[in-house]
Amino acid sequence: MGKCKIVHYINQFYAGIGGEEKANVPPEKRDGFVGPGLAINGAVEGVAEIVGTVICGDSYFNENLEEASDKVLDMIKSYEPDLVVVGPGFNAGRYGMACGMVAKLVDENLNIPVVGGLYEENPGLEIYKRHAYFVPTGNSATSMRQAVPAIAAIIKKIAAGEKVTEGYVAKGVRKNYFAKERGSKRAVDMLLKKIAGEEFVTEYPMPVFDRVDAQAAIKDIKTAKIALVSSGGPVPKGNPDRIEASSASKYGKYSLVDIFDFVSSNGETAHGGYDPVYANEDLDRVLPVDVLKEMVKNGEIGSLHDYWYSTVGNGTSVANSKAFAAEIAEDLKADGVHGVILTST
């Protein structure tokens, strides 16, 4: 190919439009490079060129997903690029998610490579890493100077028609190939190395699941403060925080003070992974507030925590779930909760 044509996706902050107060600006496109595009364009000079930049506010993208996706994709397409660069988004939560979603859009619709940069703990990385070559970055824009050459190195490889083999976070995609030795021989060779205490490389790194040990039983349930936490998506009617139906990027904290029984007018589920009819009719089916309030009244438990915490488990990444749980747990501890009932679906 000739000079590789690049479209660069960035948010309102990096486009110089503004910070959080401007996070709701809709998508726009500008010819050539903008903001960090200057450095990237310079680093790939001669082999590639940023022909256009697409900008969208982080809140706008995350809250108007369908419309923003269509617009952003159309704007990217209008430049007929050979490659798309997203970010780098470092550890910015919503920007990282937007970078990931744009990567997915491009990967699935345009079938051209995507290059980006995200911090290892950015939830967008875990969810969308298979759609792009994301170089690992520091957790803030101060590491831009390291991120740009890393991104440029991958762009140059792609522009030269070479295979990209390193410098990015593994996409987590498994690909078959024929090995030189048969499986049994490879197993014996691996065993010999393992026996000898030599270094060996597993062909399938098994995922590590968190196992949580059960805590000691609550000594006196009649004085215990109990809280409700759910991944079944129970939310106040109208889903005020717009928790996503799948791949949730947030959780909600809602007051139980005035709720004694859920009916169709005060609660619903945000969860997109099951038939919501029965939950929407009576949310106690997912979050048993009616029974617990009664138990408090009857003195069977000490008290019920004033808030419930809710997210949607459907397709939500382990990275996101862990982040939510860490915050929720801190909150519960600070409020002196003794026990939690976790409900799912």
Binding site: K171, V173, K175, E181, R182, G183, S184, V188
Partner: protein, 428 residues
């Protein structure tokens, strides 16, 4: 136990007046083999075809593949418990028609039967594109039930194979290999300074057309037991499986059990190969707990320093694999696992249904969900439309021109977990 395995190299198979081996060519009397394979009241008809490497031939649905063998000297016969009495096999002399195979096909039994292509991209995935195949197409009587259908076809294949094997009884083998494992204490003393290795040989036994047999016994009903490695070379283990074609172990591969061969290759050099523990993959938790406990106990009892554990099938048996790994590693015995993957057609899903941090040495036979398009063949032996229903295919897998788009799951032994093939997978 000492077994001499003599391989008679077969480079071609042809029909002839007399079933015999001459100058590396296996001649097959078509009528005679059909009569012997069809010797069962429950069989309506048997047809016999030949399929050679490189020919534009597709066989489907494939049920089992069997290698012709014959006992020349020593106790028992090939396939004890089915084709001969239950004498202990694995010693003496056995001849093999290396390069020949019996492939059974016919109306579909379950949904989990396979495809063998003799040329094209599909041929790269199956080891049976490299063998000279005598294809036995068996049609049972109409009133037969599925499980009985499986038995009928399985037995027909064993009969056909042993019939061919006889042709090698008085032929001088081209290659002879000697395998020997001594009684435990002698074996330990023979190579006292080498690390002691046991092979944990997991067999698919979920029932309902998921069966494996040892000396004729349904392995679902055994508690894990010790096996001399040479026993498999005489057909002690037989497949009765209609599990996904890519990772069920055909009888042929049990008879050539590759981990056993490759451990023997190191026996006395770098390791002391003590033998095998065969175990099952049953469905209930109690069965899984019992079998993994017994397996770990046996491996520990034998004094192993290390073990290779191979799985058969996927999903539910992943739990057995993980339990075996945890309990054996838990005794300080090092393990390597052999499995395959179901990472989705895009390769992005988690590959196994269970996981353990102790499973840090894992050989994979590839992602069974990866999609492949098999070109049309001039000849199809069997029923091409079954491509739409076998596991790994879908309605529409078979195209009008005879090509097939499906997961490699449909290809016989594409992701064999005994380690017979070369396919593997890596993370991108």
């Amino acid at each position: 136990m000492r077994l001499e395995v003599g391989s008679i190299l077969i480079k071609d198979v042809q029909f002839g007046d007399k079933t015999e081996v001459k100058n590396g060519v296996l001649y097959v009397n078509k009528d005679e083999i059909a009569k012997i394979a069809g010797d069962d009241d429950r069989i309506k008809s048997v047809e016999v075809y030949l399929a050679r490497p490189g020919e534009s031939v597709r066989i489907l649905p494939v049920k089992d593949v069997v290698e012709p063998r014959v006992k020349v000297d020593g106790p028992g016969g090939i396939f004890p418990g089915f084709m001969s009495n239950v004498d202990q096999v694995g010693s003496g002399t056995t001849h093999v028609l290396k390069g020949a195979a019996v492939v059974t096909t016919g109306k579909i039994v379950g949904f989990q039967e396979g495809i063998i292509d003799m040329k094209g991209v599909g041929a790269e995935y199956t080891p049976f594109s490299k063998t000279n195949n005598v294809v036995v197409k068996v049609e049972p009587i109409d009133s037969i039930k599925q499980h009985e259908h499986e038995v009928v076809v399985r037995m027909a294949g064993l009969r056909a194979s042993n019939y061919l094997g006889l042709a090698g009884k008085n032929v001088k083998p081209d290659e002879v290999k000697v395998y020997e494992t001594k009684p435990l204490l002698e074996q330990v003393n023979q190579y006292p300074n080498l690390p002691k290795v046991v092979y944990v040989y997991m067999l698919q036994t979920q029932g309902l057309l998921h069966n494996t047999f040892y000396y004729g016994v349904d392995v679902r009903q055994i508690v894990p037991t010790f096996m001399y490695p040479t026993e498999v070379f005489d057909g002690a283990i037989i497949s009765g499986n209609c599990v996904s074609a890519c990772d069920k172990n055909p009888t042929y591969i049990h008879c050539n059990s590759p981990v056993i061969e490759d451990l023997y290759a190191e026996h006395g050099k770098t390791i002391n190969f003590l033998g095998c523990v065969i175990t099952n993959e049953n469905v209930t938790l109690m069965d899984k707990e019992r079998s993994s406990n017994m397996t770990a106990k046996l491996v520990g009892f034998l004094g192993a320093d290390a073990a290779i554990i191979s799985e058969e099938g996927f999903g539910n048996p992943d739990a057995d694999l993980v339990m075996n790994c945890n309990k054996i590693e838990g005794q300080g015995i090092k393990t390597v696992l052999i499995t395959d993957e179901y990472a989705g057609q895009d390769g992005a899903s988690q590959s196994l249904a269970d996981s353990t941090p102790l499973g840090n040495a894992c050989v994979t036979a590839g992602n069974a969900n990866e999609v492949v398009t098999l070109p049309p063949m001039d000849t199809v032996i069997g029923y091409p439309e079954t491509a739409n229903v076998i596991a790994g295919g879908w309605e529409g897998s078979l195209h009008a021109d005879g090509s097939i788009t499906a997961e490699i799951q449909v290809i016989t032994s594409a992701t064999n977990e005994l380690g017979f093939g070369y396919l593997t997978a890596k993370g991108l």
